[in-house]
Symmetry: C2
Subunit: 307 residues, 2 copies
């Protein structure tokens, strides 16, 4: 009887594979035996990503069979059918039966879910959500997405689409999002959109490069009032959406991860203020930083094999 769990993370820019021993624990987490990463090559497609991932996994397994395979995929997934619907970054992933392929390859049960849901599971079982039955995990990065745990179980929604807090509207008079609506959280609070708005107001960087979310956060930290204003508008948008979500679903905790959450204390203060101002006084919750960082999908993939 093997205790090996294979965790795979098909990310937007890199592929990660890790091997865990779920019979051995360390700090309340399964022991991680190995971790291998590879950047996605330019021109990669689904076939080349599959081959790369198999190579990483086989290298770690060295002939051993895993007891289970858990997968985080960076795009829409039909969890029940184990089907990848598509990737927003890499072509060829349309309607790929990833679960069945993995089961055939490794002769073990496999579970596949999208990265936001998987990261939520990771934080719930091994990170900032330990001991909490009802939470929304939100990643605030190039996009804004989320995953629910409600009543001590993942809540994926009727069509597996739950958690799309990034496309809730907080300001119907706001700027137009890629999705076509005005004033989505993602349009106001994601790194690239905040940076683009800042660049449009401020002008290009001196080196001619495009402004990034990190550039803007650094400018805000060093006192640039324009950068501060765009950052705080994003924090307000996220906080307002959190307050609305608290009134609607009343989770105990919101866990925030992703690059934008590293934007400094003023950002956190405004997120919490706007959320509290939007929620009814009787609706209680806290808002805390994620603990697992970039590894949340891998830890979540382990959790996924053991629900």
């Amino acid at each position: 009887m093997t205790h090996l769990v294979l965790a795979l993370d098909f990310g937007g820019t890199k592929l990660s594979a890790a091997l865990f021993d779920r019979a051995e624990h360390h700090d309340g987490r399964p022991r991680r035996l190995d971790l291998r990463r590879e950047w996605t090559a330019a021109g990669a497609d689904a076939d080349s990503e599959w081959s790369t991932m198999l190579r990483l996994a086989r290298g770690m397994l060295a002939g051993r069979a895993p007891a289970a395979v858990g997968v985080s995929f960076g795009g829409p997934v039909d969890h029940d059918a184990g089907l990848v619907r598509l990737s927003h970054h890499v072509r060829g992933w349309e309607n790929i039966p990833l679960r069945d392929r993995l089961m055939a390859e490794f002769d073990a049960p496999a579970v596949v879910d999208n990265d936001a849901n998987v990261a939520a599971l990771g934080e719930w079982r091994f990170g900032a959500g330990r001991g909490v039955d009802d939470l929304l995990y939100i990643t605030v990065s190039t996009g804004v997405g989320g995953g629910w745990v409600l009543g001590g179980r993942p809540w994926r929604g009727h069509d597996g689409m739950a958690g799309e807090i990034g496309h809730t509207v907080v300001d119907p008079a706001g700027p137009v999002c890629l999705c076509g609506k005005r004033g989505c959280v993602e349009r106001l609070a994601s790194g690239p959109f905040m940076a683009a708005d800042y660049e449009e107001a401020k002008g290009r960087k001196e080196d001619g490069e495009a402004m990034t979310g990190r550039d803007m956060a650094e400018a805000a930290a060093s006192g640039d009032e324009l950068a501060q204003a765009f950052l705080l508008r994003g924090a307000w948008a996220l906080g307002a959406a959190i307050g609305n979500a608290a009134n609607l679903a009343n989770p105990q905790r919101f866990i925030l991860g992703g690059g934008v959450t590293k934007s400094g204390e003023a950002w956190w203060v405004e997120v919490r203020r706007a959320a509290r101002a939007t929620a009814l006084p009787e609706v209680r919750f806290d808002i805390v930083p994620a603990e697992l960082g970039d590894d949340a999908p891998l830890w979540g993939a382990v959790a996924l094999t053991d629900l």
Copy 2:
């Protein structure tokens, strides 16, 4: 072994008690044996309401013992503790252990929940939500409230506060609500607020009486453009909140009840349009009228005894 279920509805303006036989079904619902109603008297308090409800119930039971008692209460309830927190209409209900009182009185298990949650259960088991596992019931009346069923179970939230869609914000530049926030759904879409806005723009009625939601809906139906504008603004607000809720939690169905839903086809068209425009294309749902009308809390009280 008795099959009698006693269903009690402590409403804002009236008390209702009904007796059901859960061993006999009619159109897929338990057979209703009796129904008694009494308007809340001016100056009523918790003690007088309790006495009135006991009289109604004992009159129907005629000495028989019920197998279970289900209760809908028009105000915040701690479901797990069986405690009424308060009534917004009648004084003296602060922290009343209603469940334990009923269990002592009728020597049977009792369950208490707030009216929005109970109506949601009623529609789910016996009305417009039959066969649907994931739904949000919304009442649009003097206030706007809601109750969830998710994964085939009631979802009350971590503190029993879930479903407060009426106090989600859809327009941060909107008018100020009683709760202190701008642009809540309840401020824009509830009958009394729409009527007050219409009256302020149009002036008092000819008979000097205050404008009601029904007056405004009738004016809209007979072509008054100002009344139509306020009604459609309310429909937009509700629809936008439904679209946000769909993105967040991805239920299969939204069920709308309450007096404002009788405002005519144009209202429904705008609710559905705004909801569809706010939700992501992949997020599917339908929006349907409630089927049980004013009796939803009584049917829900029956469902509450059998979860």
